[in-house]
C-alpha cells in the first residue's frame, strides 16, 4: 500500500510546484510592469481588477487564443521544441529549492551543484530558437545569446564556490543553516556582486539583454514566435528570474534565517527574494545595454579573474582561521 502513497505524495508536490511557478510568473510580470511604470512617472496596468491585478491573466489568455502561425521554411524540430525546452529546467529546479526548514521537494546532498547543472540546459533552447526561425535577425540573436550564456556561466558558478568553502557543504539547506551567525553577503560581498551580475547576464536581463535587444534586432531570437510559444519564452524568463534571486537569497542572504516555523520561514524567504527581484527591476528601468564585445570583455577579463581571486582568498582565510582555531 505504500507505493501508491509515495506516488500520490509526489504528484501533490508536482501540482503545488507547477501551480506556484505559474502564479509566481504572473505576479512577477505584474510587478515588473507596475514597478517600471512608477519609475517612469506613469502607472502600470490599472483597468482590470483593483489596480490592474488581473491584467496578466487576461494577457496570458489572449496569448493562448492567438492563431498558431508557423513560418514557411523553419527547421521544424528546433523551432517547435525550443519553447518546451526553455521551460523544463525551470520546473525541474523547483524540486531542489528549499523554502523553509524542512520544506523542500527533494533534499539531496549536492543540490547546489545539481541546480547549476540543470540551469545550463536552458541556454540551448535559445540557440535552437535562433537557428530554427528562418530569419537573419533571429540568427544574430541566437548566436549572441550562445556567446553570452557560455561566457557567463563560469563566473556564476565560481562565485558560489566561496560560499561552499565557508559552509562546508553543497546542500542548500545546510548552507542556510551555516549562516546562523552571519549572512554570507558580508564576507562574500564580492561573490555576491559577481553572482548577481552573472545571473543578470544568464537571464538576458538589462543591461545584458543583447539577444533580445529590442532596438537593433527587433526581439532577437523570439522574433518569429507568437501566441503561446512566445508566452512560454516570456514566462520562462520570469521564472528563471525568481529562481536566481531565490538562489541568491539562500546562498548569501541567509534564506529563511531567523524563523524556523515553516509558515513564517517561507514568508520571510519570499520577502527577501522579492527585495532582490525589486532591485533587478530597478536596474532594468535605469541602465542602457552593453555592446556584445564590451560585455564579453567584461565577463572574461574582469569577472572571471575576480571570481578566481575570491575563491583563492576565501580558501586561504578559511584555512588560516581553522588552523588558528585548532591551535
Amino acid at each position: 500500500m505504500i507505493w501508491w502513497q509515495v506516488l500520490l505524495w509526489a504528484l501533490l508536490k508536482l501540482v503545488i510546484a507547477v501551480g506556484f511557478i505559474f502564479i509566481t510568473a504572473l505576479v512577477l510580470i505584474y510587478m515588473l510592469r507596475k514597478v517600471m511604470g512608477h519609475m517612469q512617472y506613469r502607472m502600470g496596468p490599472r483597468h482590470h481588477g483593483p489596480h490592474g491585478v488581473f491584467q496578466t491573466i487576461f494577457d496570458a489568455v489572449k496569448l493562448l487564443g492567438k492563431e498558431n502561425i508557423i513560418p514557411r521554411d523553419v527547421d521544424k524540430w528546433p523551432y517547435l521544441w525550443a519553447p518546451v525546452i526553455v521551460f523544463v529546467p525551470s520546473l525541474t529546479i523547483f524540486a531542489f529549492l528549499p523554502f523553509a526548514e524542512n520544506i523542500v521537494a527533494t533534499n539531496i546532498e549536492i543540490s547546489l551543484f545539481f541546480v547549476f547543472a540543470i540551469l545550463g540546459i536552458s541556454s540551448i533552447s535559445l540557440i535552437m530558437a535562433g537557428w530554427g526561425s528562418n530569419n537573419k535577425y533571429a540568427l544574430l540573436g541566437g548566436l549572441r545569446s550562445a556567446a553570452q550564456m557560455m561566457s557567463y556561466e563560469i563566473p556564476l558558478i565560481l562565485s558560489t564556490v566561496g560560499v561552499v568553502i565557508m559552509a562546508g557543504s553543497m546542500n542548500l539547506t545546510e548552507i542556510v543553516r551555516a549562516q546562523q551567525n552571519i549572512y554570507y553577503i558580508v564576507p562574500q560581498a564580492l561573490g555576491f556582486f559577481i553572482f548577481m551580475t552573472s545571473a543578470l547576464a544568464e537571464l538576458n536581463h538589462t543591461p545584458f539583454d543583447i539577444p533580445e535587444a529590442e532596438s537593433e534586432i527587433v526581439a532577437g531570437f523570439n522574433i518569429e514566435y507568437s501566441g503561446f510559444r512566445f508566452a512560454s519564452f516570456f514566462l520562462a524568463e520570469f521564472v528563471n528570474l525568481f529562481i536566481v534571486c531565490a538562489l541568491a537569497t539562500l546562498l548569501f542572504l541567509g534564506g529563511w534565517h531567523p524563523f524556523t516555523n515553516p509558515v513564517y520561514g517561507v514568508l520571510f524567504f519570499l520577502f527577501k527574494t522579492y527585495i532582490l527581484i525589486f532591485i533587478t527591476m530597478w536596474i532594468r528601468s535605469t541602465f542602457p545595454r552593453f555592446r556584445i564585445d564590451q560585455f564579453m570583455n567584461f565577463g572574461w577579463k574582469v569577472l572571471l579573474p575576480l571570481s578566481l581571486a575570491n575563491i583563492f582568498v576565501t580558501g586561504a582565510v578559511v584555512l588560516i582561521v581553522d588552523n588558528i582555531r585548532g591551535l
Binding site: G37, H38, M39
Partner: protein, 141 residues
Amino acid sequence: MIGLLKGLKTTLKAFFTKPVTVIYPYRKMEVAPRGQGLIRLRMKQVGADPEYKCVACGICAKNCPQQCITVKKKQDEKQPEVYQVDYSMCIFCRICIDSCPFDALEQTQEYEWVSETREYFTRDKEDLAMSGAIEEVEEKE
C-alpha cells in the same frame, strides 16, 4: 560606478513621485482656447430667427490649401444654401478663419470624433453651426 549609482537614485526618486498620467477617457486635459478643432459657423440674431453670419462669398473656399470647402449661395439672400467642409481632407490650418472678411467662422476645441463611415466627415452647415451652441446676439443697424 558613480554615474550608475546616480542613475539608480534618480529612478528611485521617480518611483515615489506621483505619476503624471491623466486617465484619458475619464479625465481629459484642458485644451487651450486657441487649440485646433472643428470650425463653427457663427450665427447672428437680426430678426425673429437666427441667421448665419456667412454671406457665401466663397473666399474661404478659394483660399483653402486642400480645397475642402464647398459653398453655394441661396438665390436672392445672402445666406449659404450649401456649406460643406470635408474633414477628411482638412489640415486645420485655419486659413479660412483668417481670411473671412465677415468674421463668420470660429474655432472650437472639439477634437474627438470617430465614425465608421466616410460620409460622417463631410459636415453640412447645420452640423457646422453646432446647434445648441452659444448664439451670438447682435443687432444689425
